[in-house]
């Protein structure tokens, strides 16, 4: 697979060393090219890429608020359509808080109306911009500042919200999961989404060095561990047809993934076993063994 050299998210932005979100944006924009308008919600990405008067965006970009990226993207897409500019890609990059929590209504409306846009949720599994507060996408057992482990708590007590399936239930033509650590798989999915006339949703798993607690050099490795342990599965749903796009040959134990991160450090062996059971069940359901 040929990956264009041109960077449409310029270097020099304020992202942390080892930031997974910006890797995702770079890969997506390499696929989509310059003929693209981007929409962001309030969050890490917006803050680190657009400290006025600087911007890292080489393509037109708009941000309005935290919970309305779906609606803003709908407006952008409709305005382009009204002007006959139907060849322009509209892509939204929104964090898990702006997607699974506060922005879900706006996103649901955009998906229901089937606007011709690509919505990419960059999921780092908590509100990282404001210092690691839990979101609806925080996984079971993770310690965050608003779901801390303590004498009577083991951290987040519910599994993460299944956004890709919620989006699939809207009947949109394309839904996929992806990981920044599998760039070709991700880029193929972005390409497919851009070629489809209608709404696409891609849920991108993206390790976060500060929120997950690991060395910045290990971002790609953590993303791989998420997938190789079955903690994050790569699949797509094209017009309702479900297909796994990557299957680990031998699934690694989840402890390989959990033990590499500060946010799971407090878990007991028993709790880790429970997570393993949960992952096993999910992998069987998804058909990745």
């Amino acid at each position: 697979m040929e990956i264009p050299e041109e960077e449409l998210l310029a270097p020099g932005h304020r992202g942390c060393a080892g930031c997974g979100a910006t890797i995702g944006v770079r890969l997506a924009l390499k696929t989509l090219g310059r003929n693209t308008v981007a929409v962001s919600a309030t969050g890490c990405l917006e803050v680190i890429t657009t400290p006025f008067p600087e911007t890292a965006w080489e393509i037109p970009w708009i941000h309005v608020a935290f919970e309305n990226a779906g609606a803003v993207a709908s407006g952008v897409e409709s305005a382009l359509k009204a002007q006959g500019k139907t060849d322009v890609n509209v892509v939204a990059f929104v964090g898990d808080g702006g997607t699974a929590d506060i922005g879900m209504q706006s996103l649901s409306g955009a998906m229901e109306r089937d606007h011709n846009l690509i919505y990419i949720c960059y999921d780092n599994e908590a509100y990282m911009n404001t210092g690691v507060q839990r979101s609806g996408s925080t996984p079971y057992g993770a310690s965050t500042t608003t779901s801390p482990n303590g004498k009577v708590s083991f951290g987040e007590d519910k599994p993460k919200k299944n956004m890709p399936l919620i989006m699939a239930a809207h009947g949109v033509p394309y839904v996929a999961t992806a990981s920044i650590s599998y760039p070709e798989d991700f880029m193929k999915k972005v390409k497919k989404a851009s070629e489809i006339d209608g709404a696409s949703y891609i849920h991108l798993n993206q390790p976060c060095t500060t929120g997950w607690g690991y060395d910045p050099s290990k971002t790609i490795e953590l993303g791989r561990l998420a997938v190789e342990t079955g903690s994050w599965a790569l699949y797509e749903i094209v017009n309702g047809e479900f297909k796994v796009t990557y299957k680990p040959q031998i699934r690694k134990p989840v402890t390989d993934y959990l033990n590499a991160q500060r946010r799971f450090k407090h878990l007991s062996d028993q709790q880790k076993e429970k997570i393993q059971e949960f992952v096993d069940k999910q992998c069987v359901e998804l058909g990745i063994g």
Binding site: P51, W57, P60, V76, Q105, G109
Partner: protein, 380 residues
């Protein structure tokens, strides 16, 4: 130009059709609903060539309008009451991002308790957002205000959104004869919107709605202040041009028998029609009263108000809104900017009728004041 009998909501929809917005994200809410219905019908019949976005909330209606405006097209939306409250965040964002959005607001009270009837608390609560606010008295003025609002908002010296306020039910559902201008006249007055500054264009990429630290934030806000100041002249020019083409004259305020009035009653919106009759009636009974209708509330027409009340001994300010503890918004704005003996009357909240008897009471209480702020028509 053709004369048709219709509700004010229909007149607004006719104005929108003539203004040719390319994107219309709108969510229905009583008593705005028939605007959203009529626009849907126009789009369904191809009478409006634009994208009607069937949004799932008012928050998304204004968000989509802002996204579309940022993409360089003319947009329209409409709301009321709770819907405007839900939009609140994006009302501010729209002004800060300098989007020339035009929105109709059917003025309705705010919950709790839940009420669908008229007062002006909803739009008054958006007073400090940076939107131009125009309060219409009748259907014709509503139609004309929509057209002028686009011209004012889209002026490069302004680039602020405009809200055209219509008293819910009392005005929105009143059926009156309305002159519908021709397409040719409107096209001459309001040509296609061509954005001159920042908008989303792949040939000239820009970032809109960035993150701003203390080094720049105040300047961005000051630019909104400057734009609001600039809008005064632009509104004057626009009204003049409107009068030349359509023959109807509008100002920031409208005086009625103020020159020799001892007491000037100040109000906004549809109640001014009642007040005009009351002024005549009171004058027949020997009371030297006048009416000052404030039509443009933001920018606040300080000079026009000063001029209108210059000869008055006292003024009675009617407010269909309340800032608890300090009185109505119009009263407090006038008190802050105009040196005049003023009394405030909180009236008509939640659709309570405003009758000539109430106006007699207001004049009496202005002549012999007890409090600076008095609630009128209150059951005790």
């Amino acid at each position: 130009m053709t004369k048709k009998v219709m509700t004010t909501n229909s007149a607004v929809a006719e104005a929108v059709k003539l203004a040719k917005p390319q994107v219309i994200p709108v969510y229905p809410i009583t008593p705005q609903t028939s605007i959203s219905e009529k626009l849907a019908e126009f789009v369904a019949n191809g009478e409006i060539d634009g994208e009607y976005i069937k949004v799932e909330s008012e928050h998304s209606a204004l968000s989509a309008a802002l996204g579309a405006s940022g993409t360089g097209v003319r947009v329209f939306t409409a709301t009321s009451s709770q819907g405007l409250m839900l939009m609140h965040e994006i009302v501010f964002a729209s002004a800060g991002m300098r989007a020339p959005i035009v929105m109709a607001n059917a003025n309705r009270s705010i919950s709790a308790p839940l009420s669908i009837w008229n007062d002006q608390q909803d739009s008054i609560a958006q007073r400090d957002s940076g939107w131009i606010q125009i309060y219409a008295e009748d259907g014709q003025e509503a139609l004309d205000s929509i057209l002028t609002a686009y011209k004012i908002s889209e002026n490069p010296k302004v680039l602020l959104p405009s809200m055209v306020c219509l008293d819910g039910f009392i005005l929105t559902h009143t059926v009156e004869p309305v002159d519908i201008p021709s397409n040719e006249e409107v096209d001459r007055f309001l040509p296609k919107y061509v954005p001159k500054h920042a908008f989303l264009d792949t040939d000239n990429p820009m970032s809109l709605g960035t993150f701003t630290d203390p080094n720049y934030y105040m300047e961005a806000r000051y630019q909104v202040q400057e734009a609001m100041e600039n809008s005064v002249e632009v509104i004057e020019e626009t009204n003049k041009e409107f009068a030349e083409i359509f023959g109807r004259k509008y100002g920031f305020v409208e005086e009625y028998k103020c020159e020799d009035a001892e007491i000037v009653i100040v109000a906004m919106g549809s109640v001014c029609s009642t007040l005009r009759v009351c002024v005549d009636d009171l004058r027949e009974r020997g009371e030297k009263v006048g009416l000052l209708k404030v039509r443009v509330y933001r920018p606040f027409p300080v000079e026009d108000i000063k001029k209108a009340v210059a000869n008055a001994d006292k003024i009675a300010v009617l407010d269909k809104n309340i800032s608890f503890g300090v009185g109505g918004a119009l009263f407090n704005d006038i008190k802050a900017k105009v040196d005049v003996e003023a009394y405030n009357f909180i009236i008509g909240l939640g659709g309570r009728d405003i009758t000539p008897t109430h106006i007699d009471e207001i004049v009496e209480k202005t002549k012999n004041p007890v409090n600076d702020v008095t609630w009128i028509g209150l059951k005790r």
